[in-house]
Amino acid sequence: MQCPKCRAPMHTYNRNGVQIEQCSGCRGIFLDYGELESLTRLEAQWSQPAPPAPPAAPQAYPATPQPPAWGAPHGGHYGHHGRHKSFGRMLFSS
């Protein structure tokens, strides 16, 4: 068929199971009866909220509760390797 606007030939494409005609000249699109509704339905499915994320992978230990509001900024001062000597002393004193 010819484009009703610019008269260039239109080609048929399949978009997600819906046949649409697109003009090879002006790129305009022609929809048959019901095709707009089909596309709207498809769009609605895509824009639905994503299904809930799968539960987080089990950790080496259950997630720890959050520190209080006055707690140290994320990460704190400790490292994985070697503790500060001063902290070691603190663990053993009043």
Partner: protein, 310 residues
């Protein structure tokens, strides 16, 4: 009596006690395990003697000692159920237990200490006891900090202290007057006994009060960013698994931990500032992290969990 006279006399007493327990004593050296203003501890073979702080209340110590003797699954039991006198000090005798290695805090038995605390908190007081002394000790540390005079680091620490409810500053009775508490929990308060299980030591602050206080030092270390969350989680989970009553069985534990953890953070910061000043140095990185936590408290008022709790 001079301070110099105490140590040799205490050593003689611990040798006598050791020999009464084990006549065929191998008789190695008598060692000093601690010699601080708040207590002197000596050891001869498998026997330990502690000279308690000057001015310790004899009646209160006797009750605390009696309670420990009645809780052998939680506390190291004393060898003698009542304190002895030595010069102007009260002396108690104990079997030797192996402490946690201070050079290897990663080996801390978090699960074991949590289970011991849960058991302690669930046990009705076996004898009438005075109040747990945690808040009183925190107040003492703050008094010493004030005595230092104007020190820049002290400002946020004293402000955090002032924001606490009166019970946490030992200015009013605690909202819980029945639960048994250790009162001064840290990793130096654990020893391994024959057979490999752990027991709590140090009855000086034992009493009735708010049991969250006993969880609040590890909680404070975690809040200050010093104790890794994984270790705090192990401790808290083990306490809950053992049916400990200080925190709800699930959900946010900070409703009850907030006030005691603030108080112990303030106490720790106060002691650190006083120590740094005595050493003539500025607070180090770890000490600053505790002081910084006090400064952050200003932005968030304490949670009132215990204000209305019965």
């Amino acid at each position: 009596m001079t301070a110099d006279a105490l140590l040799p006399d205490l050593a003689a007493r611990v040798r006598d006690m050791a020999h009464s327990r084990t006549p065929a004593c191998r008789c190695g050296a008598t060692g000093t395990l601690a010699d601080r203003p708040d207590g002197t501890v000596v050891r001869h073979e498998d026997t330990v003697a502690k000279a308690h702080a000057p001015g310790a209340d004899p009646a209160a110590l006797a009750r605390r000692l009696a309670a420990a003797a009645r809780l052998p699954d939680v506390f190291l039991p004393p060898l003698d159920p009542s304190p002895a006198g030595l010069h102007d000090r009260l002396v108690t005798f104990w079997p030797y237990g192996v402490p946690v290695d201070p050079d290897d805090p990663d080996a801390a038995p978090w699960e074991a200490v949590a289970a011991l605390l849960a058991r302690l908190h669930r046990t009705p007081a076996p004898v009438p006891l005075p109040a747990m002394r945690g808040p009183a000790e925190a107040a003492r540390a703050v008094t010493r900090l004030r005595a230092l005079g104007p020190v820049p680091a002290a400002g946020p620490v004293l402000r955090a202290w002032a924001a606490l409810p009166p019970w946490a500053r030992a200015e009013a009775p605690m909202p819980d007057g029945t639960t048994l508490c250790h009162g001064d929990l840290h990793l130096g308060q654990l020893v391994r006994v024959f057979g490999g299980s752990w027991r709590l030591i140090d009855v000086d602050d034992l009493g009735v009060g708010v049991p969250a206080w006993d969880l609040a030092r590890p909680a404070a270390w975690y809040a200050c960013g010093l104790l890794p969350g994984e270790e705090w989680g192990r401790f808290l989970d083990a306490y809950r698994a053992a049916g400990g009553p200080a925190v709800p069985g699930g959900g946010d534990p900070w409703a009850v931990l907030d006030v005691p953890a603030r108080a112990l953070t303030v106490q720790t910061a106060a002691r650190m500032i006083v120590k740094a000043a005595a050493d003539g140095r500025h607070p180090d990185e770890v000490e600053r992290s505790v002081i910084d936590a006090c400064a952050r408290m200003a932005a968030v008022p304490p949670r009132p969990a215990h204000a209305s709790a019965g």
